[in-house]
């Protein structure tokens, strides 16, 4: 069945069984490997993408539901990897294994779109669906705060929080 949607800004049509989860269409039909398979049951958030700007678990979303929607994956979050969340993630040196981070970044960027200055409590609430098995949670919090700062002052490319990555930060 042909299903048409906008993927990372481009019109896309795929021929796939309508019940096939969007995750597997992205990974195996469209060769976009950034969106990750972790659990297949919406428990871990590794497969998070944006559907019309909202975070969705693509492992449980039948591709038929993508019809006419605007889908954004980690590959399309920015043209050049310079989304404030992507910059902050590198500045704070968040990843360990890195496998969950695409999903974390998609959830974090959706959070910042609706809440440009989240508190720790807001972050915990918005991000609790995304498991990081390496438990980089301290740095995920720090990076979301940093991304909020970058987004509010895009010209500020300072490394003022760089020491926060390695110090004995809380």
């Amino acid at each position: 069945m042909a299903i048409a949607f906008t993927l990372n800004g481009k019109s896309t049509t795929v021929d796939a069984p309508p019940e096939m989860p969007l995750l597997w269409v992205l990974r195996d039909e469209l060769d976009l490997k950034g969106t990750k398979f972790g659990c297949g049951r919406s428990f871990c958030g590794a497969c998070t993408v944006h559907v019309d700007g909202e975070p969705e678990r693509s492992c449980r979303m039948p591709v038929s539901r993508a019809e006419g929607k605007e889908i954004t994956t980690i590959e399309g979050l920015s043209e050049d990897g310079a989304h404030p969340v992507q910059l902050a993630w590198q500045e704070i040196d968040v990843p360990q294994c890195g496998y969950c981070q695409a999903g974390q970044i998609m959830s974090a960027s959706a959070l910042l779109s609706s809440n440009p200055a989240p508190t720790d409590g807001d972050i915990d609430e918005a991000m609790s669906g995304n498991i990081c098995r390496c438990a980089t949670y301290n740095r995920i919090r720090a990076a979301i705060h940093r991304a909020a700062d970058i987004a509010q002052a895009p010209s500020a490319t300072s490394h003022e929080t760089a020491t926060g990555a390695g110090g004995s930060e809380a």
Binding site: D28, G98, A135
Partner: protein, 742 residues
């Protein structure tokens, strides 16, 4: 595996790593010969010059450094090249890092395990960089007709008086220089370090944050099919018959067949190795879409021969352990003094039974391997911590020579010890051979949770004795574990010199074992991740019984080893981290509200000294929150990459917290009951407190950080819960206990 002797020096075997590494270079055209023969160095066609198996230089001055070890998130892909770049004396901005394939002819110790990369390679990788630097200096000195000793290096260039030549300019000439002996090449003084000790972000971060394909599960090979593998839910069970035709008719399925390597392997079965894996048996489904073939599994109707493990269950283990605890132990692991006599004459005695559950590793990237037979050999792309062991066993199981197996190392979505075992690689290879196409085998989460090499559960029946002054005089532990005969199941053993051995005059460690038909293995900080909970919780009980502050009781105990006693670790280093964590946490000094308390624990493992304080709040209704964790660690005189060091420690501490709070694997009828993250619960961000990390920089060789920060957290948390509620947590996970108090 141990390349470091008791004094922390590189042993002769440690040097052999370098020797062999260099000798390995000879096989590649004498690039880095030890015997001093002039190497066949020449700029390659693309103007790159290989100074040795690790370093390529291009005329633009960019050094491409090979990262030799498998990356599981421990940061080794950044850390090992930092060591080379430091001694090469090139700015990090001019360094590119590439992941090396597994290649035993070039590299030694290509393994992720045991927090070994730093102690094993801290010197050898620096020698690689220093040798290359010496060649560049010699080339410049020759050009300027001066002595190498008169030249200096800085920022990727050699300098002499007012002259300078960049490494890029010198690369081809350096390739003609006789390489120095890496054993004697001088290394920098630590005060001159420009890269070691700097916070260098992970080299793959730009790819990770943009979703580039880095992981095993992302691999694609032309003509590749996908595969899934259905195994008997009972561990060790085998296929008797299956409705393969019905499955073959399912959408997306191109093939389905029984894989029974036990039938074909015969005498070629792998000899037991360090990380033994069983021979696969199950049903392979192959096709054009992973999702479709995974869906087709629901159509399978299989008759299984369940085998002997079908009678095993967690409840039966619990009953059997209880019975064994009442009998004389099977074996003595250690007997100092007279524990029984000292217990009988002690002023106060305590008895307690502790237990902990089996655990899964649950790396977030499910097990996978891409396998392709071509040109008489087997090419694989695999997330594997132990490629050398894997290749050896694969060669035997498949009946092909080791040198016909190529293993490309992919970045791994977590390891935690799970990928020390290569069962999924063997499955992929057998499926690819039988299907006669390249296949990518991908497990689903349920496979990954059910078919693990689990951290084994265990049971400890403890007795402790105190004298009138509250000093520990006797310790007895009857450890009921798993295994048969004299042999413990993998990671189900206990070190005979486990703390407090040596610190208490009368110490008995005894063991009994139960046979186990379920695979077990090493989970991050193996044995320590469980034993620390038992030992450091019971010590807390003894401190309370003695009426002493639990942290001071530990400091006193660390002073109790008579001079000259051989203990498992240096008590002075442990006291130093305990004292630091006391200071940083405000232990005993801060006023905490009702319902909030701190608990403390320490543990030595993987050469690391860690003392940790957990502050927890428990409501009267029993709701638990963890407020903060303070970590004090000592891993020697140098953190190679402080940014990653803190990240590892925070992650390890929170991993320990997740285990303690809510994780267990249970069995019924030889089957794993848990299947996915709803019933095997990993820690989430809203449960993750801030983790403060502090260091004692002791004058010792640098050691690793992937593991040793984990073990103190479960007991420190349980001790904090006791301090609030008066309830002792003697079995994990904590979620099974009613913590209400009034």
């Amino acid at each position: 595996m141990n390349a470091v002797d008791k004094k922390g020096n590189l042993s002769r075997r440690g040097f052999l790593h370098v020797t062999a590494l260099a000798g390995g270079g000879m096989l590649l055209g004498a690039r880095f010969p030890l015997d001093g023969a002039r190497g066949a160095f020449a700029a390659t066609a693309d103007a790159e010059t290989a100074l040795n198996a690790f370093i390529r230089l291009t005329p633009d001055g960019i050094a491409t450094i090979m990262a030799q070890n498998p990356e599981i998130g421990q940061g080794v892909k950044t850390m090992l090249p930092m060591l080379i770049a430091e001694e090469l004396d090139i700015p990090w901005s001019q360094v590119r890092v590439e992941q090396a394939d597994f290649d035993a002819s070039k590299y030694r110790g290509q393994m992720a395990g045991g927090s070994m990369a730093t102690p094993m390679h801290y010197q050898s990788m620096r020698r690689v960089g220093a040798a290359a630097r010496a060649m560049l200096v010699a080339a410049a000195a020759k050009e300027w007709k001066t002595k190498p000793e008169k030249c200096t290096t800085e920022a990727g260039a050699v300098h002499f008086k007012n002259k300078s030549l960049s490494y890029g300019e010198l690369a081809s000439a350096a390739a003609e220089i006789e390489p120095p002996n890496p054993r004697t090449v001088p290394l920098k003084d630590a005060k001159d370090f420009r890269i070691i000790g700097q916070e260098i972000p992970g080299v793959d971060n730009p790819e990770i944050v943009t979703g580039e394909p880095l992981f095993g599960i992302d691999v694609t090979v032309p003509g590749m099919k996908y595969a899934v593998f259905e195994k008997c839910r009972v561990h060790g069970g085998k296929v008797k018959s299956a409705n393969l035709d019905a499955v073959k008719a399912s959408p997306g399925v191109t093939d389905a067949f029984v894989v029974d390597s036990t039938a074909e392997a015969g005498s070629a079965a792998p000899a037991p190795s360090m990380f033994q894996v069983g021979l696969p048996n199950g049903i392979a489904i192959v096709g054009d879409s992973w999702w479709l073939i995974n869906e087709a599994r629901s159509k399978l109707e299989v008759t299984w021969d369940e085998g002997p493990a079908a009678s095993q269950s967690t409840a039966a283990f619990d009953r059997q352990a209880e019975e064994l605890s009442k009998q004389a132990p099977e074996q003595d692991l250690r007997n100092d003094g007279d524990a029984a006599g000292a217990l009988a004459s002690a002023a106060k005695t305590l008895e307690a039974a502790y237990q902990y559950p089996f655990l899964a590793h649950a790396p977030l990237e499910p097990q996978n391997t891409t396998a392709h037979f071509h040109d008489g050999g087997l090419e694989m792309w695999a997330p594997i911590q132990t490629p050398q062991f894997a290749r050896g066993d694969l060669a035997k199981a498949l009946g092909i020579p080791e040198d016909q197996i190529t293993i490309h190392l992919t970045r791994m979505g977590g390891g935690f010890g799970r990928r020390l075992y290569w069962d999924y690689m063997l499955e992929a290879a057998l499926i690819a051979r039988q299907a006669e196409v390249p296949v990518k085998l991908v497990w689903n989460r349920e496979d990954d949770t059910r078919f693990d090499y689990f951290r084994p559960g265990g049971y400890h029946y403890l007795q402790g004795g105190l004298d009138e002054a509250g000093k520990l005089t006797a310790w007895r532990d009857h450890f009921v574990s798993f295994g048969e005969g004299r042999r413990f199941a993998a990671s189900a053993e206990m070190m005979p010199n486990e703390f407090p051995q040596g610190f208490v005059p009368n110490f008995a460690l005894q063991a009994s074992k139960m046979p186990l038909g379920i695979p077990t293995g090493a989970l991050r900080a193996p044995t320590s991740n469980a034993i620390s909970f038992v030992v450091q919780s019971f010590i807390d009980e003894l401190a309370a019984e003695a009426g002493k502050d639990p942290l001071q009781f530990r400091l006193d105990l660390l002073d109790a080893a008579p001079a000259g006693t051989r203990t498992a670790f240096d008590p002075k280093r442990m006291k130093a981290v305990l004292e630091l964590v006391r200071e940083k946490s405000g232990w005993g000094k801060v006023d905490l509200p009702e319902g909030t308390a701190q608990g403390v624990a320490f543990h030595f493992s993987h050469r690391g000294y860690f003392a940790e304080v957990v502050q927890a709040t428990v409501s009267k209704e029993g709701e638990l929150g963890v407020d903060r964790i303070w970590v004090a660690g000592d891993v020697g005189r140098q953190l190679v990459n402080p940014s990653n060091a803190v990240n590892q420690v925070q992650g390890a501490a929170l991993d320990g917290l997740g285990q303690a709070l809510d994780q267990e694997i249970t069995f019924d009828g030889g089957r794993t009951n848990e299947s996915n993250f709803h019933n095997f619960k990993l820690l989430r961000i809203d449960q993750a407190p801030p983790v403060e990390v502090h260091w004692v920089m002791s004058d010792n060789q640098p050691t690793g950080l992937g593991e040793p920060a984990l073990p103190p957290v479960p007991p420190a948390l349980c001790n904090a819960i006791f301090a609030v509620t008066g309830k002792r947590i003697r079995s994990l996970p904590i979620s099974k206990h009613d913590l209400s108090w009034a």
